[in-house]
Amino acid sequence: MMTQDPLAWVLGLAGLLLGLVFCLLVFTLILRVTAAREQRRRESVRRTWQPILFDSLYTDSLPESLPLLEKRSVPAFSELWCSLLESVSGSARQRMTEVGRQLELADRIAPLMRHRRFSYRLLAITVQGYQGGPGVRGRLQRVIDWESSPVLALAALQALMHVDEKAGWYWLFAGREHHHWSAERLVAMLAQTDRARARKELIRALRRQSPDTMPFVLQLMAGLRLELPGDALRSLAASPEGQHPDVLSQLLSLAQQPDQHGWVVTQLHHESPQVRVQAARALLRLGRREDLDRLMPLLCDQVWWVRYRAMQAILALPEVDLEQVRALVEELADPFARDIFQHVERESSWGYRGEHGYLAH
């Protein structure tokens, strides 16, 4: 075809492309119009509902009857409701939740959980979490199980935690097998849950999980700054799974109790550098005067982080004098030890903490 009249052929293609550009322009226009209409609807919903919702915050009783919430205004209302709900607590929050219940918000927004718009799905999932009620648990579990987006699945997990914490904890571990949730997001989410419950669930998970999952659970515990009971720590450390460097280093980061000191000290010369780093770090918290002799050899370690943390731990030991450390370092006659001493000593004299984030080495 093209050999006969290339110009006609190319012009046809250009026309097609021009048509595509035109379609895009029309699409842009439709988007603009839709966005403007949505904005108007939001404004209208705000005018109608904001005073009612504000009243429900400050008065003990809810209005006898609420205005009719049109189907097309459900997303706009839900956005307003979620924003306000997030900024209140206690009885005001309960009354806001009650308004949502009277309007049957969870059921009315549930169809949007399958909407093609990502933001609608996210909104519907969030409302389910705030509202609870029959059927919500199943809906959220299905999202965690089937949804391909880790963000939506995590929002569903968070909502499930609100509605049914026990189910939420189950799905945290089940969902993690196919969603790649980051520890930072999970820690932030779990920080909002009941601390005692979180500790109990994570310890239980530690006891039943495989060695692959143990570092993850321990990482969550460290992120949440939860204490691991001494006996649990000892039994985990003594178990075959506890010998894995990933597990061991996480266990060390959780060591807080003075009675764990003896165990920490035995890890200072572990073959894995990540374990040595965490052991030295643990001695920053648990160190005793007699640890000086144990820590000094670590200043000649081949791994920078081990030398750095060991030096920090030495300078934090009780009853240890800076001049005494300087003399000991000189005795070592190791240039690495001397350099790290100067470095950390200067940092501490300048008031630097040397910490950089909760998941640091």
């Binding site: 110009l7 322009l25 839900s78 820690v187 984030g357």
Partner: protein
């Protein structure tokens, strides 16, 4: 043998060979258009989804993740004019957990002196882990006033070498490379970090780079996006829109990103160390690194992701002088070819997925060899038409394919920008840019192809790399 060659040579109808080549060039433009339209479709879907997720302000506070520490690496070579302002703006980024490491790569101007004066720096007995090879560090400076800033003074070794030195000093699990002349938005890092928090498999993320010329800058951050004054910069606005919104967003949806711009890129440090950091002695160190990360992913059969954030997060000054632009484009073309040839094994790799089967063939055909085919196409069309070998319809068909389709593609990029971010608020500005989308294809693009062809020849001759320099105009307004 010689007799056969002479017979063959005399027996060939060279005009018909040339006409076939010209026709192939025409097909080439048509195929390129088709691929770009597909990429546009992918980008449109990806950007729409991204925008919807980014706009959810009603999400519970607990959905806001903890922000992991980030080390920002700023390699600087003869950046005395900009460096202090850039560092100040980086220190004021809306991010709670960051450290800034400036690497002075043996500057011959007073880059270091200005930093020392502005931040009251003092030499610090810094000890660090030298995991990656880099030229010797002369000294490390720190400030008592700004604890999150470190300045490394090292011997000159190029941008890649400077970044490797910075990685050696970085203490965070994430490192961000930023050019000293980049202008960021206060929330740039917040936006870039999201892919890492949404999906723990993310090992690298690149952001959209936009043209800073003409923009208003307030306290080191972008105040208002404006249209540049110079024609050359306006052409580059269209070019950047096309390259970032079209290409990279589309490839990102397929996990087939081939480049994370050196001007602003965020990486997982462990991934960088695993592949040995930046490769020195190459012009396109940013692309080479990303291809190495992709090769590593394929080799390990891992599901790591390299993503592209469509938000405009970094604004950079583009050349407004032909000489600077020429040198930049020649350098970019050499960098592209160096990276592609170094990783030719990734092409059609059985486990490479979209990267090996679509993105890299695209890069080879339309980016690496594109200028050669384009220039040959223009020359042959002119010669063949003047000699009456092809008729006017064929010549016009070629021009419509080469220029007309280019205009439409540029227009589509502008429309995509209007659908999504709308950084240029003034409608007249958008209309003027639409005009430049047309003009760009009438001369500017052809000159660009010629420069890129020169880059291709320089690569073939094996010319050595050096730091790129640019005549600055500072046409943004403080």
């Amino acid at each position: 043998m010689v007799t056969w060659l002479i017979d063959w040579h005399t027996g060939v109808d060279w005009w018909s060979v040339a006409a076939t080549l010209q026709r192939l060039a025409l097909y080439y433009f048509i195929v390129m258009m088709a691929v770009f339209v597909l990429l546009n479709g992918l980008s449109l879907a990806a950007i729409r989804r991204h925008m919807e997720g980014a706009d959810a302000r009603w999400l519970p506070k607990s959905f806001e993740p903890l922000q992991p520490p980030v080390s920002i690496l700023v390699p600087a070579y003869n950046e005395a004019l900009n460096v202090v302002g850039s560092v100040q703006s980086l220190l004021h980024l809306d991010y709670p957990n960051l450290e800034v490491i400036v690497i002075n790569d043996g500057s011959t101007d007073d880059t270091l002196a200005r930093l020392v004066e502005a931040f009251e720096l003092e030499a610090f007995p810094e000890v660090y882990s030298r995991v990656l090879d880099a030229r010797p560090v002369r000294s490390v400076y720190r400030s008592r006033r700004v604890s999150s800033l470190r300045v490394v003074d090292k011997e000159n070794g190029g941008k890649a070498d400077a970044l490797n030195a910075g990685i050696n000093l970085a203490r965070s699990p994430l490192v961000c490379s930023v050019d000293a002349d980049s202008i960021l938005q206060r929330d740039s890092l917040q936006r870039m970090i999201r892919p890492f928090l949404d999906d723990a498999r993310t090992v690298a993320a690149g952001g959209t780079i936009r043209v800073a010329n003409g923009c208003r800058v307030f306290q080191g951050f972008l105040g208002e996006a404006r249209e540049p004054k110079s024609w050359l910069a306006r052409f580059q606005v269209i070019e950047y829109l096309r390259a970032f919104l079209f290409g990279r967003t589309g490839w990102s949806a397929l996990n087939a990103v081939t480049v994370v711009s050196g001007a602003f890129g965020l990486f997982r440090k462990s991934a960088l160390l695993r592949v040995g950091g930046y490769k020195t002695g190459t012009v396109g160190e940013d692309m080479e690194l990303v291809l190495r990360l992709q090769a590593d992913r394929i080799r390990r059969r891992s599901t790591d992701r390299i993503v592209y954030v469509p938000d405009p997060v970094c604004w950079t000054e583009v050349p407004e002088h032909l000489g600077s632009l020429r040198n930049q484009r020649i350098r970019w073309q050499r960098g592209l070819l160096e990276s592609l040839t170094a990783h030719w094994r990734l092409l059609f790799h059985p486990r490479g997925g979209a990267l090996s089967w679509f993105a890299l063939p695209f890069m080879w055909l339309f980016e690496a060899l594109g200028p050669l085919i384009e220039v040959i196409g223009y020359v042959l069309t002119a010669v063949l038409w003047l000699n009456g070998v092809i008729d006017a319809r064929m010549a016009t068909a070629f021009l419509v394919a080469a220029i007309g389709l280019g205009v439409l593609l540029s227009t589509m990029a502008l429309v995509l920008e209007e659908i999504s971010f709308r950084v240029y608020k003034n409608p007249w500005m958008v209309l003027r840019l639409l005009g430049f989308a047309l003009l760009e294809n009438l001369g500017y693009r052809q000159i660009n192809s010629w420069w890129r062809l020169r880059g291709l020849f320089q690569f073939a001759r094996g010319k050595r790399h050096q730091w790129g320099s640019m005549r600055r105009s500072a046409t943004w307004h403080q």
